[in-house]
């Protein structure tokens, strides 16, 4: 057999440390794409939406085009407040992690819009099946920050009893389903949740997300196929934030395409500017209408950029230029909504600073209250019996025996 020179082709990231980061500016403008009828259009009708980019907020900070949801200023200000809250909350949690009060943390920095705009576009009965990058949905569903911080600490007030790492929230009251570390698993599970709603005849839609990286897992493909086969009322979002830890999205698909992968499954497929609050709100509302009408699932690529480190354990300057996120054509989601509100005369820099200050105070007092229930460095911790409870509905004899053994030993 003739031997060729080894030639395995390995992709690379667009920029590495030391490179000058630059992205081509987007060819897509608001108004480029028409809005098809969500209840009646076919998957083929969304071909342009998968190849293009749904935008509403232009570079001039004005909203335009078919996809403008026409939200009133109060709703926009609420969305802005949630995003600001998430950013300040994340910064405070990161400080806690750095001082040993949390074991670990993950921010949503640069992607605050995703969970917030999308959850705001849903009805309260809709199910949220998130990853660790969508905790912001809980603000929209009314979760108290003290309770969120207690979870992150894993103290006696943690509703999941110190069992999982920080940011693995569960919030049943808000129909926000327990987050699991193995990436991708939620994506196809969400289709099952949606199938159950459909089977039971309930007006519920399920929304779920998966990262660009995790879209390489089998679960992603299971989800698209099942959603398509059963026309499940589910909204399947791929959050393409360019990075999976140090691995660029170029390793997740050969052709760099995410949105259009829904088309051959027969799913309506859209690509949306993930830092454009209005576009994301509108596309999600559209997908909800489609799902509720029985027209099936929508597959959405949410195009964004992970501006921060992957997690508190990560140092991105080892694999990408430190300022790459400042070059992202989609800008910053908080600034863009703020500037839009200012542009339409509904907000000001002074008000924004006031808002940040108020939220900073609220986060600070929530933090103080949360640590009064114990922090990771000093405790008190959930009692050790929480290791054994809820493994099963009722504790079998062998766990009871081991529990007693543990208690006896801790007495010695």
């Amino acid at each position: 057999m003739a031997k060729k020179k080894p030639s395995l082709k390995i992709p690379d990231a667009p920029h590495r440390p030391g490179d000058e980061a630059s992205f081509e500016s987007w060819p897509w403008q608001p108004g480029d794409l028409k809005m098809p009828d969500p209840k009646n259009c076919s998957s083929e009708d969304t071909v342009p939406h998968a190849a293009g980019l749904i935008r509403v907020l232009g570079d001039d900070n004005k909203a335009s085009g078919d996809w403008d949801p026409g939200l009133d200023a109060d709703d926009l200000r609420l969305g802005l407040e949630y995003m600001v809250r998430l950013r300040i909350f994340d910064d405070r949690m990161m400080k806690m992690q750095r001082t040993g009060k949390l074991s670990f943390y993950m921010r949503s920095f640069g992607e605050e819009c995703v969970a917030i705009a999308q959850t705001m576009a849903l009805e309260t009965q809709d199910w949220i099946f998130p990853t660790y990058r969508q905790p912001g949905a809980q603000f929209v569903r009314g979760r108290d920050m003290v309770s969120m911080i207690c979870h992150c600490i894993g103290n006696v007030e943690d509703n999941i009893k110190g069992r999982q790492m920080p940011v693995h929230y569960s919030y049943r009251e808000g129909r926000f389903i327990s987050i699991s570390s193995p990436v991708g698993t939620q994506f196809s599970q969400a289709v099952g949740v949606a199938m159950a709603s459909q089977y039971r005849g309930l007006d519920e839609v399920t929304i779920t997300w998966i990262g660009d990286g995790a879209s390489a897992e089998g679960d992603y493909h299971y989800a698209l196929n099942f959603a398509s086969v059963y026309k499940a009322p589910v909204i399947l979002n791929v959050v393409n934030n360019q990075w999976a830890i140090s691995t660029h999205a170029n390793f997740a698909t050969g052709g760099g395409e995410f949105a259009s992968r829904g088309l051959p499954y027969g799913l309506a497929s859209l690509r949306v500017d993930g830092n454009d609050f209005l576009a994301l709100y509108s596309a999600t509302k559209w997908a909800r209408q489609r799902a509720a009408a029985g027209a099936g699932a929508t597959h959405i690529e949410v195009l964004t950029y992970r501006a921060g480190a992957h997690s508190s354990s990560d140092d991105p300057s080892r694999y990408r230029p430190g300022d790459e996120h400042t070059k992202w054509p989609g800008g910053d989601p908080v600034e863009r909504l703020r500037d839009h509100l200012i542009e339409i005369g509904e907000w000001s820099d002074e008000k924004h600073i006031e808002l940040e200050k108020r939220i900073d105070d609220e986060v600070m007092s929530a933090y103080k209250e949360a640590v009064s229930h114990g922090d990771l460095a000093t405790g008190p911790y959930p009692s050790s019996d929480t290791i054994f409870t809820e493994v099963y509905q009722e504790m079998p004899w062998h766990l009871e025996e081991q529990f007693n053994e543990m208690m006896e030993e801790s007495d010695d």
Binding site: S7, S103, P182, A244, I245, P382, V391
Partner: protein, 336 residues
């Protein structure tokens, strides 16, 4: 000899094997440009080239099935599964495919894949960054299973694993990457000055299937693997009982002769692992020890293990076997 921590000695083993054998190819999530989330493959891409050491899509099933195919076609893939907890999307590929290909093809095909994966607790990793799933692989005929515990055995065992023509699941105790772990979370020593961190720079191997006698004594045989070996060492010192400490190093095939020989001397046995008790590899050892050493045993065989529960986050020190639980078991073994 150089003092190396476990990350360095593993990196050194990979470096040597990449150098020695063109067919060795190293890949997995974040292992290429970045050099791995634990830095184990740091510098190897720059040294050996992108086609030898590279990043993969985030897909454990994909990684294992691609490795299987490469192994079938003449390569010797060494893949990393970022955390042992994330090996399960690849479980079908490992259990039904990799483990059985030699047998199912009448020996016509085989695939010499090595799967490296960080395992075990002690890093506040909660349910999904702490598990020690070795018995889910020891229960699968066709796989060899190794579990290193020191920089020295990490290198020698990994080289044997890569050179083996059988597939090997290679567990690395992540809590011991940068130092031994003696069961006290507040005591964080490095490998500096530890005799098992003196590592020859050249190629050497430790045969799969050979245990290591980590401590020598007369009155009890303590058997363990991975991070627990060091916790056992502490427990033995605390107990004041003279013990043999056997570091199994390889679980399949395990060194039954070394275990039998020791128990014939001591008459007592304590088995320690951090994985849950039920169907843990300790159960297999208990059964074999009573078959082989029944008339030498002076007291019931003790098992000290993780509880039969998911691995907790905040309360992980109540979960992991610590020196006091192990010392108590050693003392119980001395009664009668």
């Amino acid at each position: 000899m150089t003092n190396m921590n476990m990350i360095q000695s593993l990196n050194n083993a990979l470096d040597i094997m990449l150098e020695n054998d063109d067919g060795v190819i190293v890949f997995g999530e974040d292992v290429g440009y970045f050099g791995g989330v634990f830095r184990t493959t740091d510098g190897l891409q720059a040294k050996h080239g992108e086609h030898r050491v590279f990043d993969s899509p985030l897909s454990e099933g994909g990684i294992l099935s691609a490795a299987f195919g490469m192994g079938l076609n003449g390569l010797r893939p060494v893949v990393e599964i970022q955390f042992a907890d994330y090996i399960f999307p690849a479980y079908d590929q490992i259990v039904n495919e990799l483990a059985k290909i030699r047998h199912r093809s009448g020996g016509e095909y085989w695939s010499p894949v090595t799967v490296r994966t960080p395992a075990g607790g002690g890093i506040r990793g909660g349910h999904h960054h702490s598990q020690s799933p070795e018995s889910q692989f020891t229960h699968t005929p066709g796989l060899k299973v190794a579990y290193c515990s020191t920089p020295f055995n990490a290198k020698g065992l990994l080289i044997s694993a890569i050179e083996s023509n059988d597939p090997v699941i290679f567990f690395e105790p992540k809590r011991c990457y940068r130092g031994p772990f003696y069961g006290d979370p507040h005591n964080v020593p490095t490998w500096e000055g530890h005799p098992e961190a003196e590592v020859p720079e050249a190629h050497y191997s430790i045969p799969l299937g050979e245990a290591r006698l980590a401590m020598e004594g007369d009155d009890c045989t303590v058997i363990s693997w991975g991070a627990m070996v060091h916790v056992c060492e502490q427990a033995i010192k605390d107990s004041g009982v003279s013990c043999d400490l056997i570091d199994l190093q390889t679980l399949v095939p395990w060194d039954r002769d070394a275990v039998v020989k020791s128990i014939e001397k001591t008459g007592r046995c304590v088995i320690v692992h951090e994985a849950p008790k039920t169907s843990g590899f300790g159960a297999e050892m208990v059964a074999s020890v009573q078959e082989r050493c029944f008339y030498h045993l002076e007291s019931p065989i003790e098992r000290v293990t993780g509880w039969d529960t998911p691995f907790p986050h905040t309360t992980e020190w109540d979960y992991m076997p610590g020196p006091s639980r192990i010392a108590a078991a050693i003392h119980r073994s001395q009664v009668n």
